[in-house]
């Protein structure tokens, strides 16, 4: 009686974990993101922690969907930055997803602590 319910719990929690992780990282391939990030690296660094200038943001560990939103905003001109407009303008949706997958998986930025 106890064993099957334990097994069921494990299976269900496993499925839930899988569905959550695939939802959070929909579409992006971080390995392809690393390949495509050569241009980004010259200013943001390989992991996104090594900013060339302090006015450039760190990307490492940033939320994946926020990075997607930022790149889309540069691409469509809603967010204006001459340098980023030039780069983002050449990116496809898949490129954006892959780059966001790479940089969001690096160790770096943190949430604010709520105390």
């Amino acid at each position: 009686m106890n064993r099957p319910s334990m097994l069921t719990t494990l299976i269900v929690s496993g499925l839930v974990a899988i569905s959550f992780s695939s939802q959070a990282h929909a579409g992006g391939d971080y390995r392809r993101g690393l390949e495509k990030s050569q241009v980004c690296q010259s200013c943001h660094g390989r992991t996104g922690n090594e900013s060339l200038q302090p006015s450039y943001p760190k990307l490492a560990g940033q939320h994946e969907d926020y990075l997607v939103h930022a790149l889309e905003s540069y691409r469509n001109g809603r967010r204006q930055n001459a340098v980023m407009a030039g780069f983002a303008g050449n990116l496809s949706d898949q490129d954006i997803a892959d780059l966001a997958a790479w940089y969001s998986r690096q160790e770096g930025l943190r949430d604010l602590d709520v105390e």
């Binding site: 006015s55 943001p57 940033q62 969907d65 926020y66 949430d111 604010l112 709520v114």
Partner: protein, 107 residues
Amino acid sequence: MRHTWIVAVMIALAPLSSSAQGDPDRGEVIAYTCSGCHGIPFYKNVYPTYSVPKLGGQNQEYLISALKAYREGTRQHATMQAQAATLSDQDILDVTAYFVSIGENES
């Protein structure tokens, strides 16, 4: 005499060694409002939906330029524009100094 020179050079270079300015303790008080969105892991912006960005450990100069762009209206986001409008230059320095300090404490 030689020591005097070394000390003088060190004092002269001291401001260059740290790019962080502002008072992080005062900034922590200001950041109370910010944490209502930025302090909750995976808190979502809506229309469009995306996670509110992490700020802890971010570069201070980037954060300053972002807040000033919101305040001036050159960067669009209704809530952030409203929040940034209440901040003085000193507030922005202090609150961003606090965000930077979060990355330093834990890494």
